[in-house]
Amino acid sequence: MGTSDIGEKAAGTVVADRASPQAEAAGESLRTHSRRRPGAGRTTVLGWSLLGPSLVWVALVSFVPIGAALDLSLYKTNFITKVDFVGLKNYRDVFTGPGNIKMLVVSGIFLGCSLILAVGVSLVLAVLLDMKLAGITGFRTLLMIPWVTSGLLAGLLWKWVVSPLVGPVPYILSDITSGSPGGNVDLLSTQTGALAVLIFVVVWKLYPFGMVLFLASIRTIPRELFEAARVDGAGPLSQFRYITLPAIKNTLIIVSVFFTIMFLTMAEVPLVITGGGPSGATNVVGLDIYHEAFQVLDTGGAAALAVVVFLVNIVLGIVYIRSLRSDDI
């Protein structure tokens, strides 16, 4: 009951934020079809032969390495070779190792700010795009562009754009702040500046994903609800708060979960923009795992950190679902 609940709910979310008559009917038929009847054995064979290949592929390529990672995390390693069995020492080091506290704090700030901004921006844009305005499709296309660019590209291009040597942004900034042209405001040289730039770029890159999901969800809300509210005298903000928000709750969960996972595993953008500096101010956890494994060559430590991130993902996912889900949808 528990697993099928989460699995089916998670998968069905985009479709059925509000139970439309169509979805009800489909669900109804599914239920009647699913009772045990003659031929259930054949259905099992058919079902597994259709779903099986996917499972096998994923299990072999992902699960085996996950098991290996769990194993590796219990050892002191020198890249490929296991040197010593150290039990849970790597896990302890995650929280007590030198520089790790800062990394964890930075990651927390990064996750919090990025999540709020990303969800906020994508939701607002989705609401805007939902309006029947001329040329809205053009805007939608343009707004999707960050998602199509690669992380490498996004990092490098924004880095270029804010660099004091050749980019326009510092130039503009110092124009505004000090009134004299010729920018040498280097955003990336300060710790807060660098982290701010990183958060900005990451949100820029990922908001389209949330935007599309929210847009799809908002479109399922029956117009009559808004009409009725308007007739009753509710303004746009009230309509948003009492109609839109509750209706998109499930999508809000899904988007938050996806964004959290993406932010916690984000490595390419920080790698490319700052490499983790200055002095670890942008050394977020995804980047740190990569750094541990392939530069410090402490694969055991990296694996332990990765497992911690994995657990955090699961916990946060459960937290979101618990706190936002209303069972009477």
């Binding site: 989460i6 079809h33 259930a40 592929w57 562009i145 980019g167 916690l264 694969t299």
Partner: protein, 283 residues
């Protein structure tokens, strides 16, 4: 602010203007780096470092493009990317479509468990498996091969593609399939003759999502390849980030070229894509 759609009231003129302005500003921020990359790629190496930075190249030149196309490995990288991405898409969609259909329409023992496992994989961060996958691949002698990238990317994309396709297939009314089976068509026959054609929007959506992800995938590509034999363009662009500094001219030119396939695919299939992700919303 959900203003009733199609509203014609006098006061909404102001609201509409605000919306347009907000969208325009957002669009500028969204497109700015690509715009900047484009004009940078057209600047000669001399004018690149010109201060104040030029908003439009005064003497646009194609020398960066020519250099990157003729004198670097970018062409090989792009060919690699095309092969890897297309094959990954094909296999992923093939497996995900069947799996999605089975999980939506059929009810069999262990289905929920299998589905849960599959979808939970989306939760798993790439990082967890990076190290062991590298080691495993090394054991099989697969490091630096296109096949390895295809295998790994497919595994990562199947859950997401399945999720998208599930949402779409469950929107197709069961009655259509029922009537086809009443007419004597087998389950599989119905699958291919009825459900498949109706699923094209969902398949397009999944195709674009997978294509863009694989095309732009950087970390795994960089880690699992060591030479241009297998290196896709996402990792190939990194060669312009050198010890002595970034070669902005070449990098932008290469990046612009690398942007072409996904952007074209996206523009062409954009409508399908949004439809597919909306899974019939608004009907």
């Amino acid at each position: 602010m959900s203003i009733p759609r199609g509203s014609d009231r006098a006061g909404s003129w102001l609201a509409k203007s605000v919306c347009y302005v907000a969208l325009a500003m957002a669009s500028i921020v969204a497109c700015f780096p690509v715009y900047w990359g484009l004009i940078t790629s057209l600047k000669s190496n001399v004018s690149l470092l010109h201060l104040p930075p030029q908003w439009l190249p005064t003497a646009p030149t194609l020398e960066n493009f020519r250099y990157v196309w003729d004198q670097t490995s970018l062409r090989t990288n792009i060919v690699n990317s095309c092969m890897i991405t297309i094959i990954t898409c094909a296999i992923t969609l093939l497996l995900a479509f069947h799996g999605a259909y089975a999980s939506v329409r059929l009810n069999f023992r262990g289905k929920s468990f299998g589905l849960f496992i599959l979808l939970m994989t989306i939760m798993v961060p790439l990082m967890v498996t990076l190290v062991p996958q590298y080691l495993l691949a090394a054991d099989f002698g697969l490091i630096n091969t296109k096949e390895l990238l295809i295998i790994v990317f497919t595994a990562w994309q199947i859950p997401l593609a399945t999720w998208i396709l599930r949402a779409h297939i469950s929107r197709i009314p069961v009655e259509i399939e029922d009537s086809s089976r009443v007419d004597g068509c087998s389950r599989l026959g119905t699958l291919y003759r009825i459900v498949l054609p109706l699923s094209w929007p969902g398949i397009s959506a999944a195709a674009i999502v997978v294509f863009v992800w694989v095309w732009n995938e950087f970390i795994l590509s960089i880690t699992l390849t060591t030479s241009d034999v297998s290196r896709p363009v996402s990792a190939g662009l990194y060669q312009f980030v050198t010890e002595t500094g970034v070669q902005w001219g070449s990098l932008s030119a290469g990046a612009m070229i690398a942007l072409v396939p996904p952007v074209i695919l996206f523009l062409v299939l954009q409508r399908r894509f949004v439809e597919g992700l909306s899974a019939g919303a608004g009907k």
